[in-house]
Every structure is written in C-alpha cells, then in structure tokens.
Amino acid sequence: MEQTNSETSLTNTAKPSFWQRMMAIREMGLLLIIIGLMIVLSLASPHFLTASNITTTLIGLATDGIIVVGMTIALVSGGFDLSVGSVLALSGVTAGALYIGDMNIWLATILGLAISVGCGMVNGYFIGKIGINPMITTLSMMNIARGAAYVLTQGSPLSLAQTPKAFTNLGGGTVLGIPVIVLIFIVIAVIGDYMMRHSAFIRQVFYVGSNSKAASLSGINVSKVKFLVFIIVAVLSGIAGILTLSRFNVATPSAGLGTEMRVMSAAIIGGASLSGGEGTVFGAVLGVILLALVNDGLVLLDVSVYWQDLISGIILLAAVTLDYINHTRRRTA
C-alpha cells in the first residue's frame, strides 16, 4: 500500500485559525447560546445585570454545579446516579442531627460526608461488583437515603441554633465579595475538568464507558472503576448537602428533591452521552448555567414558575436531538 502512504501524514499542513480552533471545541455552541441568552435577558430586564441577581443565581446553581461534576463522571462510565438528591439530603440531615445532639459541628460534618461515602459504596458495590444496573440500584438508593433522612428527622426540618460562624460561612459567607459556596463550586469544577482531561483514573472511566468488555480485556479492573465512580458522585452530593445545611442553617429531609433529573439534564445538554464514553465537566457546568439562566429569566420576566419545567424539558430534548443529528452525520460521513 505504498501508493497511499501520503495519507499517513499526521501533521496538518495548514495550522487552523483561532476561530477554527474555537469552533472545534464542542462546548462552543452552548457557550454562544448562553452569551446570547444573557444579552437578551439584560436587554429585557434591568434587574438581570445587577450584582445581587448574579450573586443569587450563582449561589442557587452552586450545589447543582458541584453534583454535576460527579454525574458527568458517572455518565462517562456508562451509568448514572439517581440518588444524588437523596444523598445530599441525608448527609446534611445527618450532620445537622448530630450537631443538635451536641457533637462538634466539624466532626458532624465529617460523619455526614462519611454517610454519603457509605451510600456511594453501596451503589458502587451493587453496580460494579454484583452487576445490577445503575437505574435499579440508584433508584433504590434514592428511596433508601431519602427514607433515612425522613426517619432521622421524623419528617420535619431541624433548625440549627448558634452554629459557629466558620461553618455558616461555607454556605453564606463571602471572600472578596464572592460567596464562599460559589468559590467552592468553582474550585471543584476546575479540578473536575482538569481531572476529566488528564487523570489516568478518569481515562479508565472513559474506556469502561466506551466499551466495558474491551476495557476488561485491556486489563482494566472494570468493577473497581465503577465502584470508585459511584463513591465520587456520592461524596460530591454529600459536600453539596453540607453546603446546603450551612447555607440555610436548617437540616431539611426534603432538600435536593428533583436534583437528579436537573443535573442529568444539564450534563447531557453539555454533551455527555447516556451510552457512556463521552462528556466533559466544562460542558456539564455550562448545562447547569443554561438551565439556571432560563429559570432566572422566567422569574425576571414575571413568567409563572410553572413554565420552568416545561421549558427545561424542551431544552433537553432540543440538545439531545442536535447531538444525535451531529453524531449520525459524523458516522455516515
């Protein structure tokens, strides 16, 4: 096949221009939509571009933004986690209940996080080691963790009194005018995005999600990878739970209801695929931002809150349809 050797050349002769390189980034389309939406909203409402509106919106999306990092990893592995909202509630409630029972708040926080690790281990064990599908396993955990949160609180929210300032600062404080909770979200998202691109472990997650059989026949311990993935998701949900507790100073058993679907939608809007092997944290975070902006916009424009779900649903459907069309075009080209 000497005559076709020229095809083997690996370096592109012409260097792509800045714009070509920018447009090759998958998330670019989403970013442009978000910028466009921001322009429209700032024209439509004088309240949009105010510091208080932006801060409130960012605080509102911080916990979703933290959890979406984990959800994206789970989607890349070929699974997903429906129990994130319940684990959020359980870790917050556990920490809150222990604090009310006179435990040191930091120790209570650690135990709250430990509970979330436990939930993740159970998910990971059933999915990774036994091989039960993620849908059933995490649906069960969703009910188990939520149930446990209700049992612990007897169904009613527990108010925390006289919590140390250092703790309430996590959810309510600011550094240089930026809310701490938002800073925590940004740090986790940046680390998550870097890990997604460069960590050797996450690379194994990509292999498992792309083709788990080929992964195990390439010497990758698939069940261990899945086990760890679900622990990561649960820990991030637990962190979100502690931050929610700190922000409201109330341990609410119904906290985080509906988080799982919102976060999964965001990750998928951001380019993650339900069939595994694809997804970026950057895209997923943009997905969270888009959904939050839509809600914010509806509130500012005085549209009834009942429209929120309807519009989020349409966005999700549009995003996956576009992605599907792109994919089939790429495959038949």
Partner: protein
Amino acid sequence: MSGNETLLNVRDIVKRFPGTVALSGVSLEIFKGEIHALVGENGAGKSTLMNIIGGVLQPDEGEIFWNGQKAQFADTRHAQEAGIGFVHQELSLCPDVSVAENIFMGRMPVKAGGMIDYDELYKRSSEILKMLDSNISPRKQLRELNVGEQQIVEIAKALSLNCKLLILDEPTSSLTENEVEILFRLLRSLKSQGISVLYISHRLQEIFDLCDRVTVLRDGHYIMTRLVSEVTENDLIVSMVGRNIDAMYPDKSEERGELILKISDLSRADDFKDVEFELYKGEILGFAGLIGAGRSEMARAICGIDPKDSGEIYVHAQKLNISEYGDAIQNGIGYMTEDRKEQGLFLNLEVKKNISAAKLSNIANGIFIDDDREKRLAERFVTSLNIKVSSIEQPVESLSGGNQQKVMLGKWLAIEPKILIMDEPTRGIDVGAKAEIHALMRQLAEQGVGIILISSDMPEIIGMSDRVIVMHEGCISGELSGSNITEENIMTLASGVCQTK
C-alpha cells in the same frame, strides 16, 4: 445454470458519496440458478453495489434490468417484491419470538379483526423450512437456536417473499465449519431449484468450493467476471489488490530462542484439560482446532482473564503469580481478542486513546496522563504499522476494518509484550491488510516476542506457524512441526482423540 438466462443485469452503475465515488461504471450480470461471487477488498464498492441491488441506495447513473425489464428499486420493499432477498452480515432477527414469527416478521397472516392466524403462520413456515431441508421447529424461540440455525431462519425469511435472487453478505463469518457445510448444501439445493445467489465473502477458498462465477471489484471499478473454474486463487488476489502480493506468508524462522513460557497441567472443568506446552522466544506457535475446542478459553485462563481450576504457568522459568489480567499485562503478556468491535476497541474514542489503553503507565506521570507522551506513542505505532489515519485524534470507528485491526495490534505492541496471544488476528479483513499483519507478526517474532496464534483459517495456521498444537475438545491432541504441518494432519488431529498422558 439453466441455459445462462439472465436474471439481473446491472449496467454502468455510478454512485457518488460526498467526497468519494463509491462505484464508477460497475456492471454485473447474474444468470438464473447460478451462485455468483462478488469479491474485492474493503472499500472496493461491494456493499454499495449490494445496497443498490437491494433497493437500499439509489444509483446516480446506470441501469438495472430485472428479468429483461428495466427496473428501479426505490426502496427495499420494492426490491423484495420483485424477488430480491438480502441477508445482511449482522443478523436482523428478534431473539424473543418464535422462528415462524421471525420468518413472517411484518407480514403476519391475519384472521378477521387483525388477529394473527397462527395455524397458517406455522404451516407456511414449515413449508419454507422444508424447502431448505431444515428440521428447525417453527415454534421454537429464536434465542434457542445457534448462529448457524439463525442464519437459516434469516434465509427462510428472505425466501418467504418468493425470492429469485438471494444476496448473502459474509454469511460464514460467524459459523463453525460444520455449519458452513450445512449452509453450502442449502445454497446448492436452492440453486438446483433455479434460485440465484449473490455471494460476498472474504474467504476465497469458499468461492472455489461453492460458486460458479466470480466478479471482482477494486476501488469502485469493475475489474472482471470469470468462471471460477478458470481462475486461480492467486489470479483473484492479484485482481483484487491490483498488484502481486509476493508473499501472503513471510518466511518462517530457522531457529528458536530460549524457553519463555511453560504451561503445565492447566485445567478447567468443561473447557480444557491437562494442557501442557512450551513457547520459545521468537517463535510463532499455532493453535489449531475446531471452534469450541477450547483454544480461546485456555488462552484467556493463561492471562488471568478467566479463572483456572489448576495448573502452573512459568514465564522465563519463574512461576507466574497473578490475581488479575492487568498484572499479566504488566508482565508483558497480552491477549489480542478475536472480535475487535465487541471486545477489542473503544470505537468512539480516538486512535491515540485506543493505542494507550492497555498500559496507561506508559504515558502517565504519576496519576496524570502526559499528552505529549501519549501522542508520541500513538504516532510511533501509526507509522510503524502503517495505519492509515488522517489524524491520531480521529475516532477509531471511522477507520476501515484492516486499519482498526492494526490499531488493536498497536495497543498490544505498546505494552512491549514478551508473549502475545493473537486470537483470529486477521478475521474479516481484506487480503492486503492480512498480508501486512502477517509480515508484522513475523517481524515481532524476529524481535524476540513469543507469539501464540489461534486461528480457524487453515492456510494462515499452516503458512505462519513454526509449530502447531492441535486441540480437540479441550485437550491437546497433537503437535506438528516443519513439513508435518499439513491440512490433512491438522484435520486428523482436530477431529481425533486426546493424547493420554
């Protein structure tokens, strides 16, 4: 052939796809009651031509005459109604319903009120299966059948439409030798009933066993049509590849190096028993046997992919103690799987990520992957294996079969193997790529790798192996070397009896 009456005449077909011309002026004539082979390398245009005949695609130029009449098959339904049955390589059957329901899928006989007429359904299904000399029960669930029987159901489905031309795309790729025999008998019987068959296969031997005439395509061009009895295998290869492949198989090695692998008493209930053999540095050791003889199972147990009941493995006279497959890879033992799409490759991921997959420690600094090292590793193998890619960032699914196979080989070479087990390393790839892979295997052996070759392709086993071990029902039934490596000796041992210890 009943008087060479023309059934289908395809003339000067041109088909363009964005960026390429898939067919440029291809003609094909099929007689009534003949078995006509269509051969060519991957990308020669075989599937495009089949899809045009089957109504899946429309030609840009050219004419189709069916039974002497000008015809146009706007879609598959049109082609089916005219009498063209198309059996794709991947079977399209529903495993959870009965054989009869599969045969009449979409065209169930119905009674008043739209209820399925089961009596009629089973009656008609039995008639068709009888025509195929098959004793498959139409009431059986499809998933209870083996692959060969499922293929027969697929053919029955095509025939249920009063089919006059049956197109078969690589029908034997997943059949055992026995099943192939049954299929061939069936096709010959269809031929005697006046049905024509268009037969596509990479296995040239099958064409000589089965077909009357053969048409060769290359790079979208029509090359020739000949009576099979008038051509040799080499003629076909030359016209398919467009040049002489001077050696399908490279020269064998003269000497062998030191002992690198010794297996003793390896057993697992029901799969293999008392397997004992040695592998030397620089040697290609062939494993022959019928499908189901336990060769792959044994190989997987050696690597620690699957468990073993008993037995010891020595690498360089050191006993190998591994708990999982990853450890074997770190020790330089790799198993290249037979099925590249299902078990070998990460189709949606880039070429570079596929090549680095089996040994991330090659490209990682601690817990992070070093992009530059990954790129260099991939480029090294793309160059040395002559993999045709536009970029190492290209997803593997967009490559041809032969290039995909080479990416998979690159993945295993990247672990710097001492021992490489290759299971059906050239299945389903075209002649040119096959010769390249054979040359690479010999090169590897010369560099000191011990290679275990598991193959059901008899010429490959004979052409490549320095020694051949034959397995039969899980045990080693004999070993051949030098001039004793012949098809006859291998077949005798493959169907023979186990050696007693």
